[in-house]
């Protein structure tokens, strides 16, 4: 009788327990209702119900052994009350390692597993909350940065327009200056030609006798003296030498001075027809040519002036154009849908990892500096290389310094959500291939937030 009671108790227990088949989630309970037989979930086979969880694999799909390690393709459901439920491969059931935080996977092993779900749950919740806060804060900052980005974008656009305006103005100016320089050059040319023509014609004209006399008569006393002659007249074959007193006296016809009348008949002829002396090529001088020379000088000066001006304008124009092209290049980079990454453009971020200091200058380059101070390029800005869903989750920097085994260094930067913008980690899993974790609010995605909320629910 007692036996029967035990039997029925066991039976009842078994019946009740059928709702608690080990290793299944509540959504799978319907497959495991207590019946005489069990149909493998894939429908491949019918087995007696006692063979469910009897530590022998009957079903190809492993569905008869959700609670044991018998099936190679099976999975075990950790309920993990207080934490997140999840599946583990059946091979982790009773393998001596605690996998489920509720210890349900090690029901028949030497492992002493504690139920850590509540703690884990706490930690997870705290973590998720932290993450949420980070996300909230990150998204707020991101919004700011987007706004700033838009402003910055506009500012840059304005800057571009401004520069373009400057360039246009400069273009006009440049043309004007080119024209003016051309004009000045032409003028100079003309003067020069005129002068050349005068070389043969003007020398004999009387009117010039007086002017030469006046030129030589430095103190304007209507008389040329030895001193004055020494100052203004030189030997043709030796311009440097100053005339001696005797030579000057000889030129003055033996006297120490000479008036205009005597000059016209003596020295004038010597100066214009002879080949021993000439008027010194001093500034503002040459005798009867003084008037023409002054013109030439002015024309020359004007041409030089215009050339200098043109050069200045040209330089300014080039500079502005360079700035425009730089800015255009920068603006051609994809800074995200809302230009949220624009603010990173002129920034650099450093991180020291073991013996190296890494510097990431977004959209520009990545470098590595060792303790000895040698700097190596790990790559120049290449492209966005994230997932199709979010292409802004990863950046690639390419064509860094070559590696000795061939190829060149490159860096892949993964962007993650955070409240600060900073380089978080750098790794070199394979030689010359760097992986960086870069945290910034602009990587925060509102989608994530929703998912987070769902998982918490």
């Amino acid at each position: 009788m007692r036996f029967l009671i035990i039997i029925s108790a066991v039976f009842c227990y078994g019946f009740v327990d059928s709702k608690k088949i080990r290793g299944i989630s509540s959504s799978y309970k319907r497959f495991y209702r207590e019946r005489k037989s069990f149909l493998c979930i894939d429908g491949s086979k019918i087995i007696p119900f006692e063979q469910v969880n009897d530590d022998y694999c009957d079903c190809e799909d492993g569905s008869d052994e959700p609670g044991t390690s018998a099936c190679p393709r099976g999975r075990f459901y950790c309920t993990n009350l207080g934490f997140r439920p999840h599946y583990i491969p059946s091979s982790r059931v009773n393998d001596g390692i605690c996998d489920c935080c509720d210890a349900s996977d090690e029901y028949n092993s030497h492992a002493h597993c504690q139920n850590t779900c509540w703690n884990l749950g706490q930690r997870e919740r705290a973590y998720v909350e932290g993450q949420m806060r980070t996300l909230d804060e990150g998204l707020r900052l991101k919004q700011q940065l987007i706004e700033e980005g838009v402003l910055l974008w506009r500012e840059k656009q304005a800057q571009l327009r401004e520069l373009q305006q400057v360039a246009e103005d400069l273009q006009i100016k440049l043309e004007e200056h080119r024209r003016r320089k051309h004009e000045a050059d032409r003028l100079k040319e003309q003067t020069l030609k005129a002068l050349e023509a005068a070389d043969s014609g003007l020398r004999h004209q009387n009117s010039t006798v007086t002017s030469i006399f006046e030129l030589l008569d430095s103190n304007k006393d209507s008389s040329i003296t030895v001193d004055e002659l020494q100052a203004k007249v030189a030997l043709i074959h030796d311009e440097e030498r100053v005339l001696s007193e005797d030579e000057a006296v000889a030129l003055l016809g033996g006297g120490r001075q000479m008036d205009l009348t005597k000059f016209r008949h003596t020295l004038w002829d010597i100066l214009t027809k002879g080949d021993s002396v000439k008027i010194k090529d001093t500034h503002g001088a040459p005798g009867s040519l003084v008037g023409e020379d002054l013109h030439l000088e002015a024309a020359d000066r004007a041409a030089k002036w215009e050339a200098t001006n043109l050069k200045k304008v040209e330089e300014a124009y080039d500079t502005v154009n360079m700035e425009i092209s730089d800015l255009r290049k920068k603006l051609a980079i994809d800074y995200g849908t809302d230009w949220e990454f624009l603010f990173l453009n002129s920034q650099c971020y450093k991180l020291k990892v073991y013996e190296y200091t890494y510097t990431l200058c977004p959209f520009n380059q990545v470098t590595q500096k060792n303790t000895a101070g040698t700097e190596v390029s790990l790559g120049k800005w290449g492209m966005w290389a994230g997932t199709p869903k979010n292409q802004y989750s990863q950046m690639v920097y390419e064509n860094g310094e070559p590696c000795w085994q061939g190829g060149s260094r490159s860096a892949t930067v993964t962007l993650t959500c955070g409240t600060e913008t900073a380089l978080r980690s750098v790794k070199e899993p394979s030689k010359c291939q760097y992986i960086m974790d870069f945290q910034t609010p602009v990587a925060c995605q509102p989608v994530l937030k929703q998912r987070g909320i769902h998982s918490e629910l």
Partner: protein, 912 residues
């Protein structure tokens, strides 16, 4: 001709990137080899002085005289237990002692009585015991012939190539007497040249001072009736050794060869001077116990030229292989193992040098290695990767970068700041780690290991008496003298947990660079005139790596108080290295030919006792294609030592980096390995007990089938698994030779039955690994593949019973704790499983052994069965019960459901 052409092409193509041959000597560049090889077969100048013969119960001694220079040698001849003849030749009165290799033989080999059968002035005949085996010692010229009945098994000095360069004073006159050796061959000016290099020689910028002058030894062996010789690893060559008439001899000189070339006789990292000779009637072996640089010439009268000659001359000459050994110093000490079966030769050799150490079970699992895992975080993430992708592994490895500046026994203070934390993390998952410990020690007065070795005077000395220094990974480095027992004891003590900081019981060791590798030394190794006490490095070179591994393994044993089995991987090795752990084939490359060569390289090692062999999966240098990587995993999963490894400069190649499809293929290969772990373990137990190789050439099991003699693209694991891995790029099928005229083989995946003695074409896809179970065998497997082998310890067994045409099968089941030496104290289960007359039974093979296991028999799969009406289990206590079963008529597979008996119990299962 086609294979020759292919070979030629392969060599030429591989030549574009491979080894810089100029760094390594040819025979011509090695003075003694050139000298000795100049000596051509002819009448030996040596004569046996029969009047000096002394015969005791255990040995015969006899003086030999060289009639050219009157120098006398002493011949010792022993008959050893187990059908081995030992021939020792030394100078009768050397100027100073010549090196005799210690520590390789596990003991002084026990002798058996020799008896004199007859004697006259021409020689003596000695009996080698039963089976009408005799040794004939001929006096003039001296030669030895080992006979069985009327058949000559082997002849020594029959071609007159015995040469013994006696030690002499460095004076011209004494040189002359040596030169007279060559008088018949060499012209006067040649002699001068020879004389030049006898007392000093240079190679590239290195000079070898050779203070002892010439000291080479050489001897020839003739093997009538033999066309196939094997062994003398390590060479990247075919299983069957080639004749060397048209090139260099096979070289045995442990060298760190950068990017080695395939299919040539160049020396590699290790040397085992053991050769096996085989024909359909008999297998014999020659063990040339000499640790100096050695060259082995092989010639045959059945090469193309020889055969043509036969044809032209109409000769009926039997095939013959002639072998010649040349060593730079030491003595002639040769063990002639007379078989007659392959297994006899294995046990004969094992009786001399010992058997494969019995490895911890986990070391037969999968090993994940890379130069380098960068830091603890890296290790953790790789470890997590295996769990995430559900791929089992047992060991993760750390190469040299884990140390603090290449100072072994230390950890990088930043990258591996808390090694015990890391090791504990692995231990929590029942996994283990191997860290590298190389024998070059950084010269740095702040490094404890260096200071201790220096202050104890343990470093090898240079020729001038100072500590020898060479360049290796740490820069300037000293090399501890591992030939000293006191040095080895000290080294072993450094593995104690309190000495090796950061070490734990799940940390094991890898000895690399132990040839030794010296970056700035001649041929990237140590100067031959460096000194190990009284001996030159020349004498001991090939032993160095052997001793390094010996001392390291001893250290791992001692740290556990003698309880735990060690695991030590070595790159350099010598005869006897099998006693200390595993070897791998060094720095191979990610190329299909390197995958192919892994088979003959490990087969050759197995033949000479070293069973625990593997090649870097994926290839060390260069980057494998995904297809090659997958095929390598599939091959490696069926080779004894299963480790993936990669060079520092290669991209990452953890199994999950090649897309989900390839991850699945690799996972499947690794999982197959783990299901066979009980079989692997059992094979290693057998190897440990008997010396039989785990990975075997087919001819070992089918010695009378000539079709198997040259096969090296497939192999056996034990007797019962035949593996023909796919090693061709883009393969659509492979042709496997299934041996055994009356045998059948079962595809382990489909259970399809194939007849033996046929070439079977097997279509393959990327997931195919052609493996067959021999009909007549029973293989225990564990089908619940878990994270690591330790996690599977208590798991139940599935027995795969493959019936032969007689409907019988036999197998064994060996179980112990998997990691201690307690099996030596009889703590194990060893059972014979046999199927006959429709009854499968388990009987105890070791009734005096004691071990309890929780493992039970969960399933019995009988291949080639017919459908029973009833299956009855009879337990040890006599209880009978019915067992449910399923029968697949299409493949004749009978599956017994959950018989449930304990694996250690007696039971019978009857099919009715």
């Amino acid at each position: 001709m086609a294979p020759v052409l292919l070979l030629w092409l392969a060599v030429c193509l591989s030549g574009t990137w491979a080894v810089d041959r100029g760094n390594f000597k040819t025979c011509d560049q090695s003075a003694f080899c050139k000298r000795q090889r100049a000596l051509k077969p002819g009448e030996s100048p040596y004569r046996a002085l029969l009047e000096t013969m002394e015969l005791t119960n255990t040995r015969l001694t006899l003086q030999l005289i060289n009639d050219n220079n009157k120098v006398r040698l002493l011949l010792e001849l022993y008959r050893l237990q187990g059908n081995i003849t030992r021939v020792k030749i030394n100078e009768l009165k050397p100027l100073k002692p010549r090196y005799e290799v210690p520590d390789v033989l596990i003991r002084e080999p026990p002798t058996e009585p020799l008896s004199l059968l007859s004697q006259d002035e021409n020689g003596v005949v000695l009996s080698l015991g039963a089976e009408s085996q005799r040794v004939i010692v001929s006096a003039r010229p001296f030669r030895l012939d080992i006979m069985e009945g009327r058949e000559v098994l082997m002849s020594l000095n029959s071609r007159g190539l015995l040469a013994f360069e006696h030690l002499r004073m460095p004076s011209i006159s004494s040189c002359k007497s040596l030169l007279s050796l060559f008088a018949s061959q060499a012209a006067k000016e040649e002699e001068e040249k020879v004389e030049d290099v006898m007392w000093e020689e240079t190679f590239k910028s290195h000079s070898d001072s050779k203070p002892n002058g010439p000291s080479a030894v050489s001897l020839d062996f003739s093997l009538p009736g033999v066309e196939h010789v094997y062994g003398i690893p390590e060479h990247a060559d075919t299983l069957r050794l080639k004749t060397t008439d048209n090139g260099d001899p096979y070289r045995l000189y442990n060298l760190d060869v950068f990017q080695y070339e395939l299919y040539n006789p160049m020396a590699l990292y290790g040397a085992v001077p053991v050769m096996l000779a085989h024909n359909a009637q008999r297998t014999t072996g020659i063990f040339w116990l000499n640790a100096a640089e050695t060259w082995v010439d092989i010639s045959s009268n059945t090469t193309v030229f020889g055969k043509m000659l036969d044809y032209v001359q109409g000769s009926s000459e039997t095939p013959q292989t002639d072998v010649r050994w040349i060593s730079e110093s030491g003595i002639i000490d040769v063990f002639i193992m007379l078989g007659p079966t392959p297994n006899d030769v294995f046990s004969q050799y094992a009786s001399l040098t010992g058997t494969q150490s019995f490895p911890p079970l986990a070391s037969l699992g999968y090993h994940q290695c890379r130069w380098n895992y960068n830091d603890q975080e890296d290790v953790q993430s790789v470890d997590a990767g295996f769990d995430e992708h559900d791929i089992p592994y047992d060991f993760i490895w750390l190469d040299i970068e884990h140390t603090d500046g290449k100072r072994y026994f230390t950890w990088d203070p930043h990258k591996f700041a808390t090694p015990k934390e890391m090791l504990q993390g692995l231990m929590d998952k029942k996994r283990k780690m191997v860290a590298i410990v190389d024998p070059h020690i950084k010269v740095d007065s702040n490094y404890k290991i260096h200071n201790e070795i220096r202050s104890r005077g343990f470093y090898i000395k240079n020729k001038d008496g100072g500590d020898y220094e060479g360049w290796c990974w740490p820069g300037s480095a000293g090399y501890p003298d591992f030939t000293r027992a006191d040095m080895r004891a000290w080294w072993a003590s450094m593995f104690a947990y309190d000495q090796y900081e950061g070490s734990m019981e799940n940390l094991y060791t890898w000895n690399d660079m132990n040839e030794p590798s010296v970056f700035n030394g001649p041929e990237v190794t140590m100067h031959k005139d460096a000194m190990h006490g009284a001996w030159e490095h020349r004498d001991v070179h090939n032993l160095y790596g052997f001793y390094v591994q010996m001392a390291t393994a001893e250290g791992l044993i001692q740290r556990s108080g003698g309880v735990e089995r060690p695991f030590v991987l070595t790159r350099a090795f010598f005869a006897g290295s099998q006693r200390f752990g595993a070897v791998w084939t060094g720095d191979n490359a990610a190329e299909w030919d390197h995958l192919k060569i892994s088979i003959p390289m490990c087969l050759s090692l197995g033949l000479v006792g070293i069973s625990f062999c593997g090649a870097d999966v994926g290839g060390f240098f260069k980057s494998p294609s995904t297809e090659l990587l997958v095929r390598w995993y599939q091959t490696g999963a069926y080779q004894p030592f299963f480790r993936a490894h990669a060079h520092l400069d290669t991209p990452r190649r953890e199994p999950w980096l090649f897309g989900p499809e390839n991850t699945a293929l690799i996972r499947e290969a690794v999982r197959q390995r783990y299901t066979f772990m009980p079989y692997w373990y059992q094979q290693f137990y057998l190897a440990h007990r008997t010396g039989q190789p785990v990975m075997r050439p087919l001819w070992v099991e089918y010695p009378q089938d000539p079709a198997t003699f040259a096969l090296d693209d497939e192999f056996l694991i034990g007797r019962d698994l035949l593996v023909h891995p796919v090693t061709e790029e883009g393969a659509r099928g492979v042709t496997a030779y299934l041996p055994g005229k009356d045998e059948v083989w079962f595809d382990i995946h489909t259970f399809q039955k194939h007849n033996g003695a046929q070439n079977l074409y097997i279509p393959v896809t990327m997931s195919s690994i052609p493996v067959f179970q021999r009909g007549g065998s029973i293989i225990p497997r564990k089908m619940r593949v878990r994270r690591s082998s330790s996690c599977m310890e208590h798991d139940p067994y599935t027995l795969y019973v493959a019936l032969n045409p007689q409907r019988t099968a036999e197998g064994e089941l060996y179980i112990d704790d998997g990691h201690t030496f307690n099996y030596e104290k009889k703590e194990f289960i060893h059972r014979r499983l046999s199927f006959a007359n429709n009854v499968l039974s388990s009987v105890n093979l070791a009734p005096d052994a004691q071990f309890t296991t929780g493992s039970w028999i969960e399933r019995i799969v009988i291949l080639g069965a017919s459908k029973p009406s009833k299956v009855t289990l009879k337990a040890a206590d006599g209880q009978e019960s019915q067992i449910e079963f399923e029968f697949d008529a299409s493949m004749s597979v009978l599956t017994l459901r959950k018989p449930g008996m304990n694996s250690g119990a007696d039971w019978t299962v009857t099919l009715q």
